[in-house]
């Protein structure tokens, strides 16, 4: 355990050094966060020019959903520096450098190289939402807020588990360097209330591709519509996906043959 904490500490220090070394990069991420939030705010403005509610969700509700979507997806980008480059590492043989270390290879792939510039991006991306929601006075209770935080944590874990599951495919298929982009695109489904989709898509979003838990479920909890039953079900889904990511990774490792000398 101590060994893992040491690795985390070293990875954090490296990430801070990297952030300070590439300051312009970090500054651009700050601007980028603001820019994408502006696009989302404009989207909401255009949508609510023509209606007062989308599937029962008012404008502040939808903004809360957008904000939750940001938290659930961007924290995942904070971790997973190596997992994003897994395809290249496997193809070029540099994955050998990870697998031969005396530490769990999945742990190092997910947490070994955090990207703190994602945190900068997240900050500017979320502050406008928080300001708008604060001004509009979104209604929630203390218990709903804490349930929201819990579900948000699970949403992050699920999102990361799905990323690991997807990226693990690279052990079997060459040159699939775009799986991370695919996940980001598919996650767009999670940005809107699940009720707008036909039931077969909803079913998929609650089971095989657990997009509903990424933003919709936590945001519904914030609105006070979900209780402890939902939290337990989300916890169950989280455990299933984390286990699946673990099992598939172990199976993939057994298939891995080095490409380097």
């Amino acid at each position: 355990m101590n060994q893992y904490l040491k690795v985390l500490k070293a990875a954090t220090n490296n990430a801070i050094s990297y952030l300070l070394a590439y300051r312009v990069d970090a500054l651009m991420k700050l601007l980028l966060g603001l820019g994408w939030t502006a696009v989302n705010l404009i989207t909401a403005e255009v949508l609510f020019l023509h209606t007062s509610a989308i599937n029962g969700w008012s404008k502040p509700d939808l903004l809360a959903l957008f904000m939750t979507f940001g938290f659930a997806t961007e924290f995942g980008l904070l971790a997973g520096g190596y997992i994003k480059e897994l395809e290249t590492n496997i193809r070029k043989g540099t994955f050998d450098g990870i697998i031969t270390k005396p530490i769990d290879s999945q742990f190092i792939s997910v947490f070994g190289r955090p990207d703190f510039s994602a945190l900068m991006y997240l900050t500017t991306r979320q502050i406008p939402y928080i300001y708008v929601l604060w001004s509009d006075g979104i209604e929630t209770s203390v218990s709903s807020f804490f349930l929201y935080l819990f579900l948000l944590l699970l949403a992050n874990i699920i999102w990361l588990a799905v990323r690991v599951l997807l990226m693990t495919i690279n052990f079997w298929h060459q040159k699939l360097d775009n799986l991370a982009e695919l996940q980001l695109t598919i996650t767009e489904f999670a940005k809107y209330p699940v009720g707008i989709f036909p039931w077969p898509i909803q079913l998929v979003m609650y089971t095989a591709i657990p997009l509903a838990f990424t933003a919709f479920v936590p945001a519904e909890a914030l609105r006070g519509n979900f209780g402890i039953g939902t939290a337990l079900f989300t916890l169950l889904i989280t455990i299933i996906f984390v286990l699946a990511a673990r099992l598939l990774w172990n199976k993939a490792l057994r298939n891995y043959t080095s490409a380097s000398s």
Binding site: K29, L47, H50, I54, H173, L176, L182, T185
Partner: protein
């Protein structure tokens, strides 16, 4: 001429080799578009029409969007900025080949291959949602589709190569690409037909090149453009093509002077 034909063939062959990868890029390009008709249908509720679009028209608008996206949206700048950063561009400077044309032809080859797959996918989708889709009346709609598509194709390629040359000045061109995506997401009609936007936005965009990139080609497919509008957008496109040709030439000449290389 043969060398450009060879470029076209090589890029088609490359696309065929990595079929799964191409299919994933295809999904990445179109999946998020699938979300939007559901969002808008929910916004319609009991309303029969918004911004001159009834429910069938809005579903059709997004139904054809993957087709227009795959045929007319270009990401040449990724490839170019990578080659400039990597130094690979040097080998083109010393060869009797026009680099910008080489990149554009490569992109068109890739996009044509991808469009074939999109046609197959939307044909399958048509089986399920065909009753709500507005089918273009041919050959009448071709009067709008052909000039608008050709103008947009050239204009978008010139925009893509122009953005790609930013790589001569910075190795972190990704941020500029993101800002470009932000503008185009909003201004080209990806989110909704531009008639859904506030009136002042529509006026502002009327003389800009952005509607030509997505909104106008979709309106051409749906047969919603009159003769005056077709002429207006072709003229807007041609003016932008002339401006972009000049800018491409100027930026290329300045950019190439910045290339330093060591060894072979």
């Amino acid at each position: 001429m043969n060398k450009y034909l060879a470029t076209f063939t090589v890029h088609i062959q490359e696309a065929i080799i990595y079929r799964v990868r191409l299919f994933i890029w295809l999904l990445t390009d179109i999946v998020w578009i699938v979300v939007l008709p559901f969002v808008w249908l929910s916004v319609y509720g009991d309303a029969s029409s918004i911004g001159g679009y009834d429910k069938n028209a809005i579903v059709s608008y997004f139904f054809y969007m993957p087709l227009v996206n795959s045929l007319l949206t270009y990401y040449t700048y990724h490839f170019m900025s990578y080659q400039i950063k990597d130094g690979a561009v040097v080998s083109f400077i010393t060869k009797p080949i026009q680099y910008l044309l080489y990149c554009s032809i490569g992109e068109i080859a890739y996009r044509l291959w991808q469009t074939g797959t999109v046609v197959l996918l939307i044909s399958i989708a048509y089986v399920f949602v065909g009753q709500t889709i507005i089918v273009p009346t041919l050959p009448e709609n071709l009067v709008a589709i052909i000039p608008i598509f050709l103008t947009t194709m050239v204009m978008n390629l010139l925009f893509a190569t122009l953005i790609g040359m930013i790589g001569f000045w910075t190795i972190q061109a990704e941020w500029i690409f993101h800002f470009w995506w932000m503008i185009t997401t909003f201004a080209t009609g990806y989110l909704a037909p531009l008639s859904f936007y506030p009136y002042w936005t529509q006026v502002l965009l009327y003389y800009s090149p952005f509607p030509l990139m997505m909104h106008v080609p979709l309106e051409a497919i749906l047969g919603r453009l009159g003769a005056i509008e077709i002429i207006h957008w072709v003229v807007v496109g041609l003016v932008w093509i002339v401006i972009l040709l000049g800018l491409n030439r100027m930026i290329w000449q300045r950019g190439v002077r910045r290339v330093d290389t060591v060894g072979m």
